[in-house]
C-alpha cells in the first residue's frame, strides 16, 4: 500500500515523449482550435495541463500561484492561438508561456504564505524527524532563491528537463541556464550547510 503510494509520487510528473500519432493528433487539435473549436482547445488543456502545472510549480512558491499561472497561461495561449504555427510543438510553446506567467506572478507577489503540502511519506528505515527537518530547510532554502534559480533547479534536478529546454522556457541562453543551475545549487548547499556538518 505504502509502496504504491511512493511509486505514484516518484513517477515522472509529465507524460512520456509524444509518439508521431500523438503529435499528429495534437496538430489537428491545434488547427481545429484555431478554427474556433472550444472542444479542441479543451482537449489541448487536458493533454498539457499536468506538464504546464509542473513547470509553473517549479517557478512559483505555492501551489495556488502555480494554478493561477497555468490559468493565465492557457488564457494567453487561447488568445494568441492565431499566431501559433501548428507545425511547431505546442507543448514547448505553451511551456514558454507558462514560465512567463509564473515568473510574472512571482514578480507581482512579494509576500506569500508557505505552501500547504501533503505529509511526507516516510520510508521505514528513515528518521521522520530528520525528514521533516530536511523538508523544512529545503522549503526555506528554495523560498530564498530567486524565481529563476528555483525554476532551473526544479526543472532540471526534479523534472529532468535539459539545459536547452529550460533555456527555451525561460527565454535565456542554454549557458545561462547551466550557470544559473550551478549558482542555485551552490546557494542551496550553503543554506543547508549546517545540516551536513555531521555524518548522517
Amino acid at each position: 500500500m505504502q509502496t504504491t503510494a511512493i511509486a505514484r509520487r516518484m513517477r515522472p510528473v509529465y507524460p512520456p515523449p509524444a509518439e508521431p500519432d500523438r503529435r499528429e493528433h495534437e496538430r489537428s487539435l491545434v488547427i481545429e482550435a484555431q478554427g474556433g473549436s472550444r472542444d479542441a482547445f479543451a482537449a489541448l488543456v487536458r493533454l498539457h495541463q499536468v506538464r504546464a502545472f509542473a513547470v509553473a510549480r517549479a517557478i512559483t512558491l505555492t501551489r495556488e500561484d502555480a494554478e493561477d499561472a497555468v490559468q493565465d497561461a492557457f488564457l494567453h495561449a487561447y488568445r494568441a492561438l492565431d499566431r501559433f504555427r501548428p507545425d511547431q510543438p505546442f507543448g514547448a510553446w505553451l511551456n514558454r508561456i507558462v514560465a512567463n506567467a509564473a515568473l510574472d506572478i512571482g514578480r507581482r507577489r512579494k509576500v506569500r504564505d508557505a505552501d500547504q503540502l501533503p505529509e511526507t511519506v516516510a520510508t521505514p528505515f528513515r528518521d521522520p524527524a530528520a525528514d521533516a527537518e530536511l523538508r523544512a530547510r529545503l522549503e526555506d532554502g528554495l523560498s530564498r532563491l530567486t524565481g529563476r534559480q528555483r525554476a532551473v533547479i526544479v526543472l532540471h534536478d526534479v523534472q529532468g528537463y535539459t539545459h536547452g529546454e529550460i533555456g527555451g522556457m525561460l527565454s535565456i541562453p542554454e549557458g545561462t541556464a547551466r550557470s544559473d543551475l550551478h549558482h542555485a545549487r551552490a546557494a542551496l548547499r550553503r543554506m543547508l550547510g549546517d545540516m551536513w556538518s555531521t555524518e548522517p
Binding site: 505514484r8 509520487r9 516518484m10 515522472p12 510528473v13 472550444r38 482547445f41 479543451a42 488543456v45 487536458r46 495541463q49 499536468v50 502545472f53 509542473a54 510549480r57 517549479a58 501551489r63 494554478e67 497555468v70 490559468q71 492557457f74 488564457l75 487561447y78 488568445r79 503540502l117 511526507t120 511519506v121 525528514d131 530536511l134 523538508r135 529545503l138 522549503e139 528554495l142 533547479i153 526544479v154 532540471h156 534536478d157 526534479v158 523534472q159 529532468g160 545549487r185 542551496l188 548547499r189 543547508l192 545540516m195 551536513w196 555524518e199 548522517p200
Partner: protein, 123 residues
C-alpha cells in the same frame, strides 16, 4: 531524470532529491485536474473572446498616431515661431532710418554745436 544534485555531501543527495520530488510532486487526485481544467475553460469562455481586445490594439495604434501628430504640431509651431522672429528681426534691420535718426546717430564732420542745431530744427 537526473539524480546528480550535488547539494548535500556524504551520500545525502538521495535525501535531497527525494524530498524535492516530494515537495514538487503533482497532485494525484483526478478531481484536482478536473477542477483545474474547469477553471481554465471557464476563464477562456469568460475572458478569451473579450470584446475589448481588438480595441486595445486599435487604442495602441491610436495613441501612437496621436503622439506623432502632437510631435509634428509642436515642430510646426516651433518652426513658425522661429520664422516670425526671423522676419521681425529682418524688418528691423532692413527698415530705412529716418532722417532725424540718421542725423542723431551718424558722426558728422560738423562741429557739435551745428549738429545740435540741425537736430533741433529738423522736422
Amino acid at each position: 531524470m537526473t539524480n546528480d544534485l550535488r547539494i548535500g555531501p556524504h551520500g545525502r543527495d538521495d535525501d535531497v532529491t527525494r524530498t524535492l520530488r516530494d515537495i514538487y510532486a503533482s497532485p494525484d487526485d483526478p478531481a484536482f485536474w478536473d477542477a483545474l481544467e474547469a477553471r481554465i475553460l471557464a476563464r477562456v469562455v469568460a475572458e478569451g473572446d473579450a470584446w475589448w481586445l481588438p480595441f486595445q490594439e486599435w487604442m495602441r495604434a491610436g495613441l501612437v498616431a496621436a503622439g506623432i501628430i502632437v510631435a509634428a504640431a509642436a515642430l510646426t509651431l516651433a518652426q513658425l515661431h522661429t520664422d516670425s522672429r526671423r522676419e521681425a528681426m529682418q524688418s528691423v534691420i532692413e527698415t530705412p532710418r529716418t532722417l532725424a535718426h540718421q542725423m542723431a546717430t551718424e558722426t558728422s564732420p560738423l562741429p557739435d554745436r551745428e549738429a545740435t542745431l540741425r537736430l533741433v530744427t529738423a522736422p
